[in-house]
Symmetry: C2
Subunit: 313 residues, 2 copies
């Protein structure tokens, strides 16, 4: 039962962890957004890859969902003493990841290779793949002007209205052989509850990924990141709204029309079932909020059964 | 009273701190060995510059003499988890120094500029100068083969017999304008008690430095790093011996013949006075072991008075 999941940061990592828990070791591949990767003091930082990696390794910070549990911030305090801006909260152990990744990338390893080595060292049995080895950067158009993604997301705490999204460099990216292989051999394709604009959106925008998905006959299901008209984490709700989308599970479904076979929505959104079915998708209504490991595993199981049911039909 | 001191690591940093304590703010310039600089995980590390900088900033580890007081090692433990070799003990706050230095060097700042910025941020009022902005690497010939300096010094804990020293790249280095200016305007030139082979040696081997020293009429005095036939810190004693030098204050004096006007030796080596004077140098016999800040300041004062006395004569 090979599963290929698509994920951004915290919410996506949670469902990925649930999938890892319920699948045989090695059966899960997670394709992760890299469009919010950036460089800080010459270190190459991949926030979503790291969130997924730390979560699947069981060492992520359960309070924040990102970063490492029990992290210290001594290097950052020293950088502050040197007069540097320290709004991006780099922990000491997290820094080791960025230092090693940057060093290996400079030695001409690909991001795919580096990610495999790092996650392997942390004991992760699933395969974590960057969406591409080629760089992309997300730039947001706001009333304050154009903002780099981390500037918007971390430094300005997502307070700006997003009027447009540019995925700079996306047209020159190519999906890796590993991503294409993971999609083609998957028995189920799962779109995690990540931001459809800036997390799943960039993955789908890598030239060739939509074609690969279209070539696969495996069921394609998404878990809605919008529950009761709100994003459980992050600015997806406000972003959908300011970009002219409906802020609901149905709104998310509309963004995935032609791509997905089914949507998993929360009980609170049960009344949206008919509308989503009218878009040509099947709907599973269940508890979709993941508060703990048990929730994650149950939602993962139900999502996989939901997909498997489509094949059986 | 402008003083220009020449230093390597721990011992040199101690006397530099003493000089800083007894001189008016800004009157001290320390020219520091950079021949044991090296790259680790793509980070540019300057052990001697950092030891001098941390010591002059009053934040060095008093137990070891190098590194920072109260340092943590979380990044290093994570690097170890990633399967990396961690014999070079990089602390978390120390890492901030290397990250920032590397980033600024990549932005085309010189090591001289970066060092000024970092030490300024730490509140150091003295000027700390790398001996050159050009790279040099010290390679040691040993019975086990050729070893990079830090490999010998840290990883193998200086256990190998040193049969030869190569300062790779030294012939292509140039002294910076800042170093030449510091030498030419100094009222006293002080050679700190650092290893004459691998700390002071590389500074003197930068083409142009000996000529600049020869052009200066300021008194030139050294404090012997060998006391009672032993190095107070580090492998200088065994290194002098295996390289065919006499392991004594006299042996050090012989290496500086033609360069120095005077040597400061410890009371325990009083009997060497006549022999050193026969080499054409004046000798000051005093307590030269620096156990605390008081010792450092007293030795610094006495060394400066010793130099001043030569001018008065």
């Amino acid at each position: 039962m090979k599963v290929c999941a698509f994920a951004g940061g915290v919410g996506g990592a949670k469902l990925a962890a649930g999938l890892q828990d319920v699948l045989p070791p090695g059966d899960l591949t997670v394709v992760v957004n890299t469009a919010d990767d950036f460089d800080l003091w010459g270190l190459h930082i991949c926030p979503d890859l790291d969130t997924v990696m730390y979560t699947l390794a069981g060492i992520s910070n359960p309070e924040t969902g990102w970063g490492l549990a029990g992290e210290s911030f001594d290097a950052l305090s020293m950088l502050e003493r040197y007069g540097e801006e320290t709004w991006f909260k780099l922990g000491d152990r997290d820094l080791a990841t960025h230092i090693l990744r940057t060093s290996r990338l400079r030695s001409a390893e690909t991001l795919t290779e580096v990610t495999a080595a790092l996650s392997g060292s942390l004991g992760v049995e699933s395969t974590i793949l960057p969406m591409s080895d080629d760089p992309v950067s997300t730039v947001l158009e706001t009333p304050e002007g154009r903002l780099e993604f981390q500037e918007y997301f971390v430094r300005r705490a997502q307070r700006d209205e997003v009027l447009g999204v540019e995925l700079r460099g996306i047209e020159s990216t190519r999906p890796t052989g590993a991503v294409l292989a993971a999609i083609s051999r998957a028995d189920t394709l799962v779109f995690c509850p990540s931001n459809p604009v800036v997390s799943v959106g960039p993955i789908l925008a890598v030239p060739g990924i939509r074609e690969a998905l279209a070539s696969s006959s495996a069921p394609k299901v998404a878990v809605s990141p919008i529950v009761g008209g709100r994003a459980l984490k992050g600015p997806a709700d406000r972003m959908l709204s300011s970009l002219g989308h409906e802020v609901s599970a149905t709104g998310v479904a509309k963004m995935y029309v032609g791509l997905l076979d089914g949507m998993v929505v929360d009980r609170i959104d049960e009344e949206e079932r008919a509308g989503i079915e009218d878009l040509g998708m099947r709907v599973l209504v269940t508890e979709s909020v993941m508060r703990d490991a048990e929730d994650r595993a149950r939602l993962a199981s139900e999502t996989l059964e939901f997909g498997a049911g489509m094949v059986a039909r």
